[in-house]
């Protein structure tokens, strides 16, 4: 049949060994027979339906398409895609399509692809809003987020109030686990980092102070810097990466797996049960970690002082004791409590506001860390200005 009538306007595509193809013949007037041959599979590449679609509107114009698939060797979605495209083009031009020449499986799949029509309004038109709209909407969402954080802070304060009068619902063991996690378990990394920070401060100071013959003042430099600023700040930054992110990821995952909903339906406020122990634990542990960090940092300075500057350990110790006053320690420790509360609050907040997917958990952890570090450094800067002004 295919051989008998070589109709005008025959389209030929060179047959290759692996890839399948098609030829289209106008057999009887008005009927376009598409002969499919070879392998129409993913591994041999896609076939565009554009060419044959053009054929539908060219003269002489067919009114009907039929298929001959006797030479078809193998097929998969490549063929189905070709046929659905062809069919869409045919429908546009009012050409009827006769599927009977296709293998049964192909016929069924083409029908299946059409079976559920696209739901009205389901498809999303992705229009990028203009600059002004974007600036506006991100400003609004920033304000909304700030308001939400303040709400969360308020809820946490109410929770702490209930806790102080002994009415908050949480398990003591959860608090102990949180304390262990943000206290003792953090000691090695805090020790390492603050030792290195003390070392670096001493090193930088030593080179400068030695020029004036004032090498002993390295002890003042390291002692005051650690106690007032670096001890609390480095520990807080470490804890935001270590614990703040963990809180956000932990609570976020609980949100995804409906654990938070389960608490709510039991009438247990997640704020008291999940958030409070974490905030309390970190606020309690941060000052202790900071004291530890300060001492280890001063030991780092001592190492440089004795090895590089030939200061005796006793002299270094006496100089440090004389230089670092109780107010320096106090400033550092007050900041440490504040930082601990901020890290825990932000971590828990991002976790509790997590959307319900794995990607959202990652986003919650990331934004918790970033926000913690921004807040810590901002608070530290403000505190330094206040302390300088008040001469504390």
């Amino acid at each position: 049949m295919v051989e008998t009538t070589r109709a005008p306007g025959r389209l030929e595509r060179p047959p290759t060994a692996a890839a399948g193809g098609w030829t289209a013949d106008l057999l009887t007037p008005g009927e376009l027979t598409v002969r499919l041959y070879g392998e129409w599979v993913l591994s041999s590449g896609a076939r565009s339906a554009a060419e044959i679609s053009k054929r539908l509107s060219g003269a002489p114009r067919p009114s009907r398409i039929s298929f001959d698939s006797r030479a078809l060797e193998a097929w998969d979605n490549i063929l189905i895609n070709f046929l659905t495209k062809l069919e869409a083009a045919a429908a546009e031009r009012g050409v009827t399509v006769d599927h009977s020449g296709l293998p049964g499986g192909v016929q069924r799949l083409v029908a299946l692809a059409r079976a559920v029509p696209e739901r009205q309004g389901a498809r999303r038109t992705q229009q990028r809003p203009d600059l002004l709209t974007r600036v506006g909407s991100s400003s609004i969402s920033f304000l909304a987020m700030s308001a939400d954080l303040i709400t969360f802070l308020g809820e946490a304060l109410i929770g702490i109030g209930r806790m102080l009068v002994g009415r908050a619902r949480f398990r003591r063991s959860d608090l102990m686990i949180a304390i262990e996690d943000c206290g003792p378990n953090a000691l090695p990394i805090v020790a390492l980092i603050s030792f290195l920070v003390g070392l670096i401060l001493a090193f930088v100071g030593a080179i400068q102070l030695e020029q004036f013959g004032a090498a002993i003042f390295v002890a003042n430099l390291v002692g005051i810097a650690m106690a007032r600023e670096m001890g609390a700040m480095m520990t807080a930054i470490l804890m935001s990466g270590r614990t703040g992110a963990a809180f956000a990821a932990n609570l976020g995952t609980m949100q995804v797996s409906d654990e938070v909903s389960a608490l709510q339906t039991l009438g247990i406020p997640p704020m008291e049960f999940l958030v409070l122990p974490r905030i309390v634990a970190l606020s309690l542990m941060m000052p202790l970690l900071t004291v530890f960090a300060n001492i280890v940092g001063m030991l780092g300075g001592l190492l440089i002082g004795t090895l590089m500057l030939d200061i005796t350990p006793i002299a270094y110790y006496n100089q440090t004791i004389g230089a670092v006053g109780i107010n320096d320690w106090a400033v550092g420790l007050v900041k440490a409590v504040l930082f601990g509360a901020v890290v825990a609050l932000v971590g828990c907040w991002r976790g509790m506001r997590c959307q319900r997917s794995a990607a959202a958990v990652g986003a919650a952890a990331t934004s918790a860390v970033v926000l913690c570090i921004v807040l810590i450094i901002s608070i530290d800067a403000i505190a330094t200005v206040i302390c300088t002004t008040l001469k504390i």
Binding site: E73, N77, I78, E118, A122
Partner: protein, 279 residues
């Protein structure tokens, strides 16, 4: 040629005489010393829908993981088209497994990608198609499972039933010869579950793929199953093998009967539903 030609060519993918596709030989599954199931022997024929059933915790999903090479047998072999998964080169194993598609119990859709991107990823990785062609095929796959127009949705934004179907679309992306479903209808309402069964039957008939399903939905088991294996958690081995409808009618094993009758000890060959007296 006004009369439609009869389909002269029988379908190259469905025209197959029953031939073994997946063979499980003397398989023992274990985590360390803890044996899950032992002495499993069965054959899944090409184009069959094979059901793995059994009570909770009997190792159904673990068996599925052995069939797709996620877990190594403690003993025995799994042969796919005559090739033993663990006796061939790792590259060859990857090539064999690329011809299998899997849907996971919880969907397993990547939550950071849209549905179209989920379906497109296997195509991007394993074919030489262009971006536009891949996008077309991804849309086609979604249309086949009834999700036309949902290309730009994220998995978290659609319902559970739609997630299952999107998982199916992804599993089919590379036109696999074997499709494995872990609890495809778990968590679906009866109607969605029925529609999914119909879809699975339709895909088997048109693609000619071999389908392995882990399920304990009795309605699905009887509606789609050609063959099945029943795993028993107590004796830790298979206690029944065959067409689930025949097992219901003929099996003498009380555990199999109890399972297939939802615990109702009926002997007259019909499934009884419990009469509820309370309002």
């Amino acid at each position: 040629m006004s009369v439609a030609e009869p389909p002269l060519l029988s379908d190259p993918r469905t025209n197959t005489t029953p031939e073994p596709h997946i063979v499980v030989e003397d398989l023992t599954m274990a985590f360390g010393d803890f044996v899950i199931q032992r002495n499993l022997n069965f054959t899944i024929c090409r184009g069959d829908i094979f059901i793995i059933m059994g009570g909770s915790g009997c190792g159904k999903s673990t068996l599925l993981r052995h069939l797709i090479g996620l877990q190594t047998p403690a003993r025995g072999r799994v042969l796919i088209s005559g090739e033993s998964l663990w006796e061939v080169e790792p590259e060859r194993r990857d090539a064999i497994l690329r011809r299998t598609g899997v849907t996971y119990q919880a969907g397993g859709l990547w939550s950071s990608m849209t549905l179209a991107e989920n379906v497109a990823l296997p195509l991007e990785q394993y074919t030489n198609l262009t971006g536009a062609e891949i996008a077309e095929l991804a849309s086609l796959n979604l249309a086949l499972v009834g999700l036309a127009g949902f290309e730009d949705y994220f998995p978290a934004q659609i319902s559970g039933g739609m997630q299952k179907r999107a998982g199916l679309a992804r599993a089919m992306a590379l036109s696999p010869e074997i499709l494995l479903f872990d609890e495809p209808s778990a968590g679906l309402d009866p109607i969605s579950s029925r529609l999914l069964d119909d879809l699975i039957l339709e895909l088997r008939d048109s693609l000619g793929a071999t389908i392995v399903m882990v399920t304990h939905e009795l309605a699905s088991i009887f509606a789609v199953g050609d063959n099945s294996v029943f795993l028993d958690p107590e004796t830790k081995t298979q206690i029944a093998l065959g067409d689930p409808k025949r097992l219901l009618a003929e099996s003498q094993d009380p555990k199999v009967q109890q399972f297939l009758r939802r615990g109702e000890p009926a002997a007259d060959g019909t499934i009884q539903t419990r009469q509820r007296t309370q309002a």
